[in-house]
Each structure stands twice: as structure tokens, then as C-alpha cells.
């Protein structure tokens, strides 16, 4: 093209014409594709299941006997003297390794309060003379709804924290002037016979917007 003589107008015109017609065709094709929406948009989102409502519940770990009393529920299962005799302390039986033998009637209780059988005696906490009460090691007698004091008689630092609200869940109003707050009792979270927090299934993990591609297999030198 560079070595054409200057007056090659007629030689150049068909080339320009070709280009311009070509452009018209290209634009018309684009207009068609756009206008008819032939190249649509595909939604990249993958389905994510809604979380089970159980994970949203603010219920405590367990309900205590005191809760049942407060809610005035049927306590016939918990009537100690339906089976035991008043005034006669129940006998505890131990096996050869000093482990407590749980009687068949109380088989739902699993003893796990302290390792190596440290807290193996029912009457460390229960009052053998009045099974409807609790007792501390130093002889104080407590009602069931005052059970935190019993726990605190051994677990001092935790009890101090609990009193202020630093241990265990507090719900309601942080601004005590504006409304009530609820501090849970120890037994609302801890089973007094086996206090360690039980494991549970966690709620679902995060779903990133763009799922990570599969990892490369580790190289021999990794």
C-alpha cells in the first residue's frame, strides 16, 4: 500500500468500501445479538440451604429441677419419698475399686463429677436426712433453687465470676435500668452429676461466593 502512486484514489476506494460494509454487517450482527438478548446472563449462585431453626434457639443446655418447680410441671418422677423411707438415709454401695454403684432405679444418672472418683459420694451434695434438700460439705443445708451456692462452695473463683455475670450466659438488658436481665443457674448448663459440657453438632460452615477450585495434589517436595 505504501508504494502506490499518489493518485491511486480509485484503487483505494473499493478497500474502504469493503471495510465500511463489513463494519455495517458487524454492527448489525451486534445489534441483533443484543436486541434479541441472545447472550443472556447466567446466575452464578449455587443453592444454600437455610439453617435449621434449632440453631437459632436461645434455650439453655438443659432444664433444672428448680426450673420444673418454677414452671409447676409434673414432678411425680422426682418424688423421692415415693420410694425412699422418711428418716432413713439411703445406703450407698461401692464396688472393689471404690466406684459408686448406681442403683437400677437411678440408672439415668452418669457419675462424672471429678476424675478418678473424686466426687463419688451422693451425699457430698444431697442431704441424706432430707432428700428434698441439698447440703454443703461444711454442713449448710440448701434448697434446690439455691444450688449455685452449693457449686460455689467448692468452685470459688467460678462462683465469683458467675455472681457478677462473667461466667455463664446472661440475657436480657445490659442496661439494668431499662429492663430485666436473666442470669442462668449452674445447672441450666451443667449436669450436676456429669458437669462437663457435652459436644454437639456445629451449625453449617461458611459458603463463599465463588467456591474454591480443588486443591492441587501436594507435590513430592511439599
Amino acid at each position: 500500500m505504501a508504494d502506490q502512486p499518489p493518485n491511486a484514489r480509485n484503487g483505494k476506494r473499493p478497500k474502504t468500501a469493503l471495510v465500511l460494509w463489513g463494519l455495517s454487517v458487524a454492527f448489525a450482527a451486534l445489534a441483533t445479538v443484543f436486541g434479541l438478548n441472545l447472550w443472556g446472563y447466567s446466575n452464578p449462585l449455587y443453592p444454600i440451604a437455610l439453617v435449621d431453626r434449632a440453631f437459632l434457639s436461645t434455650d439453655t443446655n438443659r432444664r433444672s429441677y428448680a426450673d420444673l418447680v418454677r414452671a409447676k410441671e409434673d414432678l411425680s418422677d422426682f418424688d423421692c419419698y415415693a420410694c425412699h423411707d422418711k428418716g432413713k438415709p439411703p445406703t450407698l454401695r461401692f464396688d472393689d475399686h471404690q466406684n459408686l454403684i448406681i442403683p437400677r432405679e437411678h440408672s439415668d444418672i452418669v457419675m462424672g463429677h471429678g476424675e478418678h472418683g473424686r466426687n463419688n459420694n451422693c451425699f457430698n451434695c444431697h442431704n441424706e436426712n432430707n432428700l428434698e434438700l441439698l447440703q454443703t460439705r461444711d454442713g449448710r443445708v440448701l434448697k434446690f433453687q439455691d444450688s449455685p451456692q452449693l457449686c460455689g462452695s467448692c468452685h470459688g473463683p467460678t462462683y465469683e465470676d458467675w455472681e457478677v455475670g462473667a461466667h455463664g450466659r446472661i440475657s436480657g438488658y445490659w442496661d439494668r435500668k431499662l429492663g430485666p436481665f436473666k442470669r442462668q443457674d449452674c445447672v441450666n448448663c451443667h449436669d450436676p452429676h456429669s458437669p462437663t459440657f457435652q459436644g454437639r453438632k456445629p451449625a453449617p460452615g461458611p459458603h463463599p461466593l465463588h467456591v474454591l477450585p480443588p486443591k492441587a495434589p501436594p507435590a513430592a517436595s511439599d
Partner: protein, 318 residues
């Protein structure tokens, strides 16, 4: 070879004397098809549904609104939510209380990694379910190390807590020296007097600079229109808090401003089954957070060396 001056032998210019009918047709063909292509290229905009309105476009900055302006805006938001979800919400503009500095303390001995806080937050704050936005991210850390690079986010065992690990939930630390506030080009995010760093969702331009600046990955962006199931909408809303957001704006944990400024605990505190989360006004010496900061001996402020001065204190009991 000398380059030819091509313009002295060029073709015709635009409509002028000396044009043939063929060249005129040719030129108009190009121009017409070109303009048609230009017009049709914008066809997707036909699907633009409620992108903005004159009122929303002209809406003032939060700090410049008069009470009347705010009342009008709140009413408009209520109408919009009712139209979209069929539920009439109650939207308020709650102001910070005097003499309050919120502080959050998280007991790492107690957290079991159950992620209930994550989902309670999502439910309380009307976050998008798909794409999923979650303000809280629970990290599973190996026993003995606080190295974030060893964190695992997507643990899914049959039972938590897992032996040999501890769990650290991370959300907006409401820093006293927040990098996100510093970098926002339009002041769409700022820290209020009670310590909460808030976002004016109607002012944010969506540049995502704050998301790049946050060292805790606490800020989240609406990459598309958020989707909230109608039956899970929380109708108790606040302007700076959990009212539904739009496509293209940032959002993050705001300490459940609609609850905390009314004196209540945030949703994550209420739901934690282990009582690991503690929240309150640190200026009140009788609050549990003041007690914790007084009596516990070791606190971890994440990435303390960055000088952000977070309001979040992680600690261990045992």
C-alpha cells in the same frame, strides 16, 4: 521508503459536496447500524428494577439530616420493606446513650465452636442468605498457637469442641482507631460516641476500600441484591443497623445497634450456649465486662501491633 501521506488521497469526509449515492448509502449504513448496536447494547438495563429513585438519589448524608428528613426517610424505608416482604417493619433512628462505651469480651476457654452466634446474628440482622453474608467467622485454632494462618474456617466435625483445638469467633472489632473509617472516601462509615463503627448504607458508594483496609475481614459487600426469606425477616430495625441493605453497599457487625441502644444484649450474646460472650458498658464498674477487664490477667487483642485498638478482648479462664 518514505511513508506516503495517506490523507492527500483519502476518501470523502462526512456529508459534503461531491458524494455519490453509493457512498451516502454506505455511510448511513454504518452510522445506522452503529447507533442501533449502541442502543441495543444497553438492553440489559431494561431489567433494572428499582435501582434508584429521585428521592434516594438526593438523600442527604446521615449526619446532615434534620429530624424531619430522618422521619421521612424512615417512613420510606418502612414502605419499601412492606412492599418487598409484605411485613410492615418498625424502623427507628436510635442515638447513642451518654456515658456508654461498649466493650466485648470473649472467653476462649468456653467457646465450643458451635456457630450458633453466626446464625443468630444472620437472623437478627437480616443478612442475605444467598449469597451468604455472615458478620461472624468462627476460627478453629490449634492448641497453643494464635497464628491466624493456622486457622481453619470450614471445620465440620460430628461434634464440637474437638480435642486439641480452641475456637475463636471474629467479627468487627469496633476499633478505637479504625482503619476503615480512615480510608472511606465519602465518610460513609464512622465511629459513634458509644464506640460502634456504623455505616450509612444510603451513602456508601461501594468502592470496597474499607474492605481492603480492615485487618479482621469484618466488612462485607453486597455483590448482588440480597435475598432474605420473608418468614425470617426481623421487623425490628434501625437505620444504621439491620434494615435490609441494597446491592452494591457494604455492611458489617454493628453490635446489634437496634438492641444495644435500647439497652439489650446483642443476639450473639443471647444465643451462646456456653456463655462465652460478654458485652456491656465498660464505663459502668458494676458491668460484667468491667469486672472481666479488671480481674482477668491476660487479654488478647487481635493484631494489636497494627494500632487499631480493638474493643474486643479475648481471654482465657483456665
Amino acid at each position: 521508503m518514505p511513508p506516503l501521506d495517506s490523507f492527500s488521497t483519502q476518501s470523502e469526509p462526512a456529508p459534503a459536496a461531491g458524494m455519490t449515492r453509493r457512498s451516502f448509502l454506505r455511510t448511513s449504513a454504518v452510522l445506522t447500524t452503529g447507533l442501533a448496536a449502541l442502543a441495543t447494547s444497553l438492553r440489559p438495563l431494561l431489567e433494572l428494577d428499582d435501582y434508584t429513585s429521585v428521592e434516594r438519589f438526593m438523600q442527604k448524608y446521615y449526619k446532615e439530616m434534620t429530624p424531619d428528613d430522618m422521619a421521612r426517610v424512615l417512613k420510606r424505608i418502612e414502605n419499601e420493606v412492606q412492599k418487598q416482604y409484605g411485613i410492615r417493619p418498625h424502623v427507628r433512628d436510635l442515638r447513642p446513650m451518654d456515658g456508654v462505651q461498649f466493650v466485648y469480651a470473649l472467653n476462649l476457654t468456653r467457646c465450643i465452636g458451635c456457630r450458633k452466634c453466626v446464625h443468630a446474628c444472620v437472623a437478627e440482622n437480616n443478612q442475605s442468605r444467598n449469597p451468604e453474608i455472615q458478620y461472624i467467622r468462627v476460627l478453629r485454632m490449634p492448641h497453643g498457637s494464635l497464628d491466624i494462618e493456622k486457622a481453619v474456617h470450614d471445620y465440620a466435625p460430628e461434634s464440637v469442641p474437638e480435642k486439641g483445638h480452641f475456637y475463636m469467633p471474629v467479627q468487627c472489632q469496633q476499633c478505637k482507631n479504625p482503619p476503615c473509617v480512615k480510608v472511606c472516601p465519602v465518610h460513609a462509615t464512622w465511629q459513634e460516641t458509644d464506640g460502634i463503627t456504623v455505616i450509612d448504607y444510603d451513602w456508601c458508594i461501594g468502592c470496597r476500600y474499607c474492605e481492603a483496609a480492615c485487618p479482621y475481614w469484618a466488612r462485607h459487600f453486597n455483590f448482588t441484591q440480597p435475598s432474605i426469606p420473608k418468614d425470617r425477616l426481623n421487623p425490628e430495625m434501625a437505620y444504621l443497623g439491620n434494615r435490609p441493605r441494597r446491592q452494591g453497599v457494604m455492611e458489617k457487625c454493628h453490635f446489634c445497634i437496634q438492641r444495644t441502644r435500647a439497652g439489650r444484649y446483642p443476639a450473639c450474646v443471647e444465643v451462646c450456649p456456653a456463655g462465652a460472650r460478654k458485652f456491656g458498658n465498660v464505663l459502668d464498674p458494676t458491668s460484667e465486662v468491667a469486672y472481666i477487664l479488671r480481674t482477668k490477667r491476660v487479654f488478647i487483642q487481635l493484631k494489636e501491633e497494627l494500632g487499631t485498638s480493638p474493643r474486643f478482648f479475648y481471654y482465657f479462664d483456665v
